[in-house]
Subunit: 152 residues, 3 copies
């Protein structure tokens, strides 16, 4: 299993796992917009004049509930997006299936937990820190692996 023909086929369990978790994590990320919208309507916090539901409302940028969801969303962009790109290239380096699939699982589950404890039900630290570091650690490992594989 050394050619891209096998590596990028859904018969390759590593690629299959990568595609599955990419689907899950992209759906999770896009759901952050729904969560933001829900908080905006609930707290009547809108960032644009054309979004105001009533002429009595004014634009507002400092609602803590809205800003919390926005911080969680931005954290997704900072961490999930790099994983999605690195995970694809890591799959192309023909890694051990056991290791690769568990790395993808770790990132997937950790980032779902991160969202839950950050933006859905706030759980005291170190819940968020731990979920952040599991996903970041796995992504750093994969990024380092592809860099080293390509360097020599």
């Amino acid at each position: 299993m050394a050619s891209v023909v096998e590596l990028l086929s859904l018969t390759n369990p590593v690629f299959k796992s990568y595609v599955f978790w990419t689907g899950v994590l992209v759906l999770k990320m896009l759901f952050m917009s729904v969560l933001t919208g829900m908080q905006r309507f609930k707290t009547k916090t809108f960032a644009n004049p054309e979004d105001l539901l009533s002429p009595k409302l004014k634009v507002k940028f400092d609602d803590p509930n809205v800003e919390r969801v926005r911080r969680a969303h931005r954290n997704d962009l900072e961490n999930i997006v790099p994983f999605l790109i690195v995970g694809l290239l890591y799959t192309l380096t023909n890694p051990s299936a056991f290791l690769a699939i568990n790395l993808f699982r770790a990132v997937g589950i950790a980032r779902i937990v991160h969202t839950l404890v950050y933006a859905v039900v706030v759980i005291p630290q170190p819940a968020r820190a731990l979920s952040f570091f599991v996903a970041a650690g796995a992504t750093v490992y994969m990024a380092f692996q592809i860099m080293v594989t390509a360097a020599f």
Copy 2:
């Protein structure tokens, strides 16, 4: 047309369409930096002391025109980037060419409209909401498809 050799070739009309719209949307996204820069110079709103054009100016973070373009740019990151990754994997699931090409077109056109009505000429709602939901809906559909395809 089941192997990656055909799927990721420019002779595959689905991949061709994906590459075209990726080029268009990345150029559009990078243009947001130009728009932000134009608004910064026009309103003399700079975020860093080393950017100030004159010693009389101070850093400023609340100009509504600058912040509007920055919100549109962030919205691109939240929506275009996930599409770019999901679109590539969706292409690899060998979808119906007619459906796939029209999904890519829908995302591409909707995100251009989103920028126009948000950051170029402000159009009252629901213009922005509609363009947002067309692109998000198509991306959710593709993400769901790749997740399900990889799950079974």
Copy 3:
């Protein structure tokens, strides 16, 4: 060398270079979270109540050192992420190896310099502007190339 089998193999020097710089730039981007964390602890600036280290502290959003690193991080999302996607598709268009490898190098080095002069040791302009435009210029060129290649 026209098939994806050769193009996405590490025996293709263009793909090898792309994978190497992707690893480097993703590690660099993830390091921005470390830099942000360091500035947060140093200046005791935390954005969430559950992150406060002592009951005397309050959430704070306007520390200039924290915000500077966060702006640099966001600028990475706006510029490195589009490059990572466009670079992969550009590799698939079978470009001149000399040109492609030097474009990847230019983006990689320019974005490292951008971080250094923006968020590590602040260097007066036009240091940051120059590093920004080198990377953005190379990415625009590649995005334009893939768009045109796919359009005809």
